[in-house]
Symmetry: C2
Subunit: 337 residues, 2 copies
Amino acid sequence: MSATVHRLGGKHAPSLDPMMALVAPDMNLVNTIILDRMQSDIPLIPELAGHLIAGGGKRMRPMLTLASAKLLGYAGNRHHRLAAAVEFLHTATLLHDDVVDSSDLRRGRRTANIIWGNPASVLVGDFLFSRSFELMVEDGSVKVLKILANASAVIAEGEVNQLTAVRRIDLGEERYLDIIDAKTASLFAAACRIAAVVAERPEAEEVALDAYGRNLGIAFQLVDDALDYVSDAGTMGKEAGDDFREGKMTLPVILARSRGDADARAFWKDAMEGRRNQDSDLAEAIDRVRATRAVDDTLARARHYGQRAIDALGMFTDGAARQAMVEAVEFAVARAY
Amino acid sequence: MSATVHRLGGKHAPSLDPMMALVAPDMNLVNTIILDRMQSDIPLIPELAGHLIAGGGKRMRPMLTLASAKLLGYAGNRHHRLAAAVEFLHTATLLHDDVVDSSDLRRGRRTANIIWGNPASVLVGDFLFSRSFELMVEDGSVKVLKILANASAVIAEGEVNQLTAVRRIDLGEERYLDIIDAKTASLFAAACRIAAVVAERPEAEEVALDAYGRNLGIAFQLVDDALDYVSDAGTMGKEAGDDFREGKMTLPVILARSRGDADARAFWKDAMEGRRNQDSDLAEAIDRVRATRAVDDTLARARHYGQRAIDALGMFTDGAARQAMVEAVEFAVARAY
């Protein structure tokens, strides 16, 4: 009953708690699989993987698989292993991302590449990729495998696309959206979609869950990118200004630049090409982003995708699962306030 | 008829040519798939992947899949896509290896990480990994997927094992063999084994082809490791002394050290821990390896595994395919002469 689907902008403070509560018993089983399958006779593997896996992530992607399965009333247990596979795929990507970006902090902790070095992060990432595929293969559904193998290729393509876009001052909103669709939203989409496959639901429900995950993923990434230009973003466990210093062309920059005058264009060109990366430059960037309403409008874009995610759930029966999934979207887009 | 299986050490100069001729039409089809599936809308991907894929490799692993299929009289075409998947998996590993080892030359050409940087090599490697799995999933055999996903995890584990063994002067022959079994031989084994799966042959033939590939892979790696201490090894397109300078504990070092006196142990400790890595040190290392017959005996070990590979073929009908596979082993172990 789509009439009961929330609209964004209600008065309560939205939270992930309902979704976490909904899937808590399942998530315990997923965590058991994760801990079990990151083991190896080579001690460095569980040590390094454990640093990231135990490092306080929200397990957003496996949570989406579990919540989607609840939404569909799925009573089996195949989704536990697949949710672990999704988390491994994500963890592998994070390990490689930190190498690619030369990051030193993630979720407020030192990154694995800083502690153990780039070679170890690359290779343990490869191990987790492989383990992820092993878990999928154990499930045995070629349809699930196709969805996840394709998502994995699309993610890697998106990462390369982003790499070649770094410091490219002429990047437009369309290509930026292509990048975040590939590198972030495609795994959110796949995580939700596979629940419909294991629950043997009709194609239309697969497509709806894909749309929910994809739009939520885009909204999520847009808010992340906006928060990089909000000076008190300490709560997200990521340092404000990371994207700025790395010359990442995110939507706040694209909007601030396209709405600015010649002086603004010169500033952003210098900044993205690495010639203005001091704290005072970041402060100026935040001022410029604020003056052009570029953060506000990045967040408005996020709400657009968030609303689409919520509306994609319209075909499903209302209840605790759907309400939790709606509130997860509200939480994702409300993080900036 | 096992009586006709060659014994190592015949008089002719063994060559890969018979195997190449045997699979030439199939390999053309595999090359078409490889070129087609390394394409992407992101131009950096085919550019970087093409550098390595067109870079003069022997396509040893896909060739083994094709030759094994010939050996079994397989008349279908599933093995073409799987052979391409095997090559992609191998290429992804090479890209990451070069990042891990900070290599600057491979097969006599500049490595991708030197030309395009480590981030691009890591991410394009991830893309090829994912494409490899997509190709396997398209084949649709869960049994093949299990074999290749497992090989992929074992390779990554072997790479991490090797990484933690670098500069570990106390590494013994057993752990060294575990490492090369995992990082090299497991993919050779899987490449051969999957031919028996697609040809729907009995388990015993799968096991025999696995053994052929695994023992050939170990022999291959042992000879590679020996050649690093042969000063005129220019023909292999790899620089002699690479392993020495990187502090890799390979069998020639393990043998030379364990057979040496206190002075030798001190030399190898200094060398492997990076305090003696000049050309004059390499010359001394080669002398020490020669004086202890460490290269000769590494090659003797290679011949042992090569003979096991050849004997694993005993159950198959003699003919052009089996003879080509035997000669490939002879070629692998004869490269040092």
